[in-house]
Symmetry: C3
Subunit: 435 residues, 3 copies
């Protein structure tokens, strides 16, 4: 039981923008054509031919023609959804009217692209009444072109304070008879322009982290049955930073993120899926360090924690300034407190299947165990972590599996890579569990 | 002057749930009976016989009978309020109707429990219109059973994005003539299901911290004159973690927390009360370390800070990579910047009494001094911290005292333990000050 | 294109309060008179003769007379705006009526002060309907005294949960015909009373950081075309802490802050302006350390990072527990990842001018380079950071320049100090760029 989502796909991992027309190239649609050929993990869940910021203002008329050309020719084969971004601005009627004209042209059935167009992305929206203006243009276009009312979905870029507030009103506005806001699909943060709109400044010019904006976007999406997507991560060389940002986003319920390159698309398509192998974390020096698996043991080789067996069953654990003298039980206890386990896809599927069997047999809760041999300074310690699984744990664990199943259903072009990544057997079990 | 609170108790420290019927026991109400016998610091401010998630679906009919039986027999003696949780779901009319039937039965005057029932807890609420549906059932029940309208209070579990948004509407909805939302009492976060509803994921499966949700709950409670309560802390072995969470909550204005065991109840009943003895904090290695009191001196024995007297009145302080050469005044200044004092109950009462006397004498502000001898590497340094107390400081300091007085008024069963904890004299002064 | 701001000044850096009448002084208006003589960087953008918390209740009648006296005599020469704070409380009609009377008296044209009064600050507001009550009093006063409707601006202190929520409603309420809320100017956080209202507690009694409140204030200001100002920073000795708070605020889009002393005014007038000289940050020991410029090189002299050239073109970099063996390219790469550059006013103006020229020449993006020689343990490494500048980067970089230009336009009394700070040449270029 959850909010009804008005679209087929439940998750969007990747939102990939391409310039629609680049000046100075022999073929101004070159980037568009090559993006349209992406497949598998390199292909985004949502592809956005970007006729706004990624394309120079004087190239946007040509951009419209390029979108039509490329989508008409390549759209049928493209594995993700296609949502061009048009121009829009909450403060400019002229820009809004241009956006309407771009959409009207792109969706003209005579141009042959509309059957592959899933919707449009509207940037720079303002308060909810501004969203309604865009929605009204969608409705007019649908009638003008004989499309089903509500068939074109609408996504917005949240890049102003008033748009952030509007996300709190969306749920109750969506049901009103004088709009078709049920067409809403993605709420996408646009932190560059949001930062400008909020007049925020950082010493180095890097973007503020805006945790509250991302929370509010995720909450707005949850309340209205939509999907939340984070904005672009500019430093495309910084893969580690991109991963950290996505991890932080997922803890907020924001699964999707903007991708600027096919490389970022691969990262962002992969990151929210459970890992192939599980791993152990150890708290050392105020941080959680991922241990290295060697011959089935979990090895810590940092300097922030040291362990010595000083007598038979007597240990000294040094952590920062603290020196703890511990017997074997105390040591195990201390290490249990300091460790956490990141379950693999197999672990999750195993646990879910086991819990389902237990429930079938009339049991409401079972204990799951994760055991490991830790190695600190060459000293080996066996630990074993129990976790109770009840209905709530089961359902919470289901989110990554539901995501995986959604991906599997909607992205057949990724089946091969997923089978390579996990093995065909676990992929099959993962698609079956929980249904 | 503050928002009018529509109930007697101003604070709720503890929200303790018990399964209403456990299968396989000779007496399925065993846990309910034993919870109903808790007294003193082990007894919660609000006790929640939980006929929802803590009780298996097929046991909930029996759970209703057990609630009636136990509350009718033990309710008169129970020292806290009693608010059973019934089933509810924003997406399921059938579940809502079941919740209504459970409440109707529990409150039937012929069953003898209703006079000890203070209200009900409604889980899984949605937007404000969903809250009104529950409220309407309360009103119908009150009329049906000849109870005073509004006499049953309503608390909700916030475990969806739309419920989080609803807390922002509550204040203005509460006054409307077509509802009785003035019956609202607690806003309780339910992070397990909230995480599921937001589709959030963390690598290890632990719950995200959701700071914005907790802020919004606390703010919603403040704006509507209600009480904010945080959700369950699952790792019941981790007392330190539970305390840290409560400290973080109190800095957000959220004084109450869910308790899963009598042990957690004791912790959560005690944590928001001022400590028996004051203590000093010293900033070392990027953290605030609590100093150890030895013979009236405050001793630091960590490795992150070292102090040496290199000449008469000349000192070297080493902190991390920094080496500071300081004379005595500079050293005192540096240590003042690095220290903070956590006042005891006695300190707070002393300061308030002193300020009240000064105000009586026509003075608007007074300086309060805290002095200590610090010992770092055996080197002793005397410091003395002044703080101006004006009306605003006085009123801010009053929050823990108001809480203490509220506890003292409503929980006579805790008087003995409080006197043991603080001494009878300071308890008496603390109950008198500020009135 | 942005939300229309209904006032001349676009930024307010400083909000400086003075008691209006101090008991026991020969001249109770002494502090007011001396504050009214502040000029240049010591003078705030907004000066607030404070007839509420800073002034004892029994002195407030005299405070009104003092405001009139001092503003009538000194107001014409004062370089900032003047917004007295009067009494108000969302829960007390008597206090509200007193606030009305104070404003009515201060603005009486016969008293000679009103032509220098820019508006009033209303503390302790509640929900939006409470803001409307204050607005209505402004309107009545304007009619009573023959002032233009809407000419007095209104600022509020946000110090309750309901006022925080009201900031979300402001944008849509401002346009309604039955109020004049277009007069709104500043949204000022008041964390002392907010903490009390939220009933929040910290062990040492220091104020919680309230990041969500500050975000919501900044967002509310952005959405309604107003200016966000943070509350008082009590520890006036702690300059470093005050600067950190302002840096954190600017990253939230909150440029203004309360100042309690002329010293704090200087800090807060200066902090949001770009620095005179650029500087380099190096990530070491989990922190960003500002490097020291020596003979044009950037020197790191901490302990958390060490570098050694072990062979020709072979390096060992030690960071915490990690030991990295790197060749020259890898070293450069690693150090690029660990460094960031804080641009100076000159850097920003240079880059903007360069981008403007490029745009003029038809180019949409250019690469800007920052080069430096780092010195770690005496080992020198040259690095060079490229950053692409496109229209969005350009516009984002503009915020500090727009601020500077706004200051320059409205504060001629600061021209001399600004020229001293930056040099006349760069000041002139900074006032011209981007227009």
């Amino acid at each position: 039981m959850s909010v009804t989502r008005h679209y087929d796909r439940e998750f969007v991992r990747t939102f990939f923008t391409s310039p629609t027309a680049v000046d100075g190239e022999e073929d101004s649609a070159k980037m568009l054509r090559s993006a349209g050929q992406l497949r598998g993990l390199q292909a985004p869940d949502v592809w956005v031919p970007d006729n706004e910021d990624a394309t120079a203002p004087n190239m946007r008329a040509e951009g419209v023609e390029n979108i039509i050309d490329v989508v008409a020719n390549q759209g049928a084969e493209f594995p993700g959804e296609i949502h061009p971004r048009v121009v829009w601005h909450r403060e400019s009627p002229a820009t809004r009217y241009k956006g309407f004209q771009q959409m009207l042209e792109i969706t003209d059935p005579e141009n042959g692209a509309v059957e592959h167009i899933d919707g449009f992305v509207i940037p720079e929206v303002g308060d909810i009444d501004d969203w309604k203006k865009a929605d009204e243009f969608f409705t007019i276009i649908e009638h003008e072109h004989g499309l089903e009312e509500g068939s074109l979905s609408m996504s917005v870029i949240v890049e102003s304070g008033e748009a952030e507030l509007a996300m709190g009103d969306l749920r109750e506005e969506m049901g009103k008879p004088s709009n078709n806001l049920e067409r809403m699909f993605l709420l996408v943060d646009g932190e560059v322009d949001y930062t400008k709109d909020m007049r925020a400044m950082t010493p180095t010019g890097e973007l503020p982290p805006w945790p509250e904006l991302r929370h509010n976007t995720s909450r707005g999406a949850s309340a209205a049955g939509l999907i939340a997507v984070d904005g672009p991560y500019d430093d495309i060389r910084d893969v580690e930073g991109y991963r950290e940002r996505m991890k932080d986003n997922r803890a907020k319920g924001m699964t999707g993120i903007w991708s600027l390159t096919p490389g970022q698309v691969v990262e962002a398509n992969t990151a929210p899926l459970p890992p192939k192998t599980g791993s152990w974390l150890l708290e050392a020096g105020g941080q959680e360090v991922e241990l290295e698996a060697q011959d089935g043991k979990q090895v810590y080789d940092g300097d922030d924690l040291s362990l010595e067996e000083v007598s038979d069953g007597g240990y000294v654990l040094q952590a920062g300034g603290d020196r703890l003298e511990l017997d074997e039980d105390e040591l195990t206890e201390e290490l249990l407190d300091r460790t956490a386990y990141i379950p693999s896809m197999t672990d999750i599927v195993d646990s879910m299947e086991e819990f389902e069997a237990a429930k079938e047999a009339g049991k409401g809760a079972i204990a799951m165990t994760q055991a490991a041999t830790l190695v600190i300074n060459g000293v080996e310690v066996d630990i074993s972590k129990d976790r109770m699984w009840d209905e709530a744990t089961y359902q919470a664990a289901q989110t990554p599996i539901t995501l995986f199943q959604d991906v599997y259903e909607h992205r057949p072009d990724q089946h091969e890579e997923l089978a390579e990544m996990y093995g065909a057997d676990i992929v099959e079990r993962a698609t079956a569990v929980g249904n």
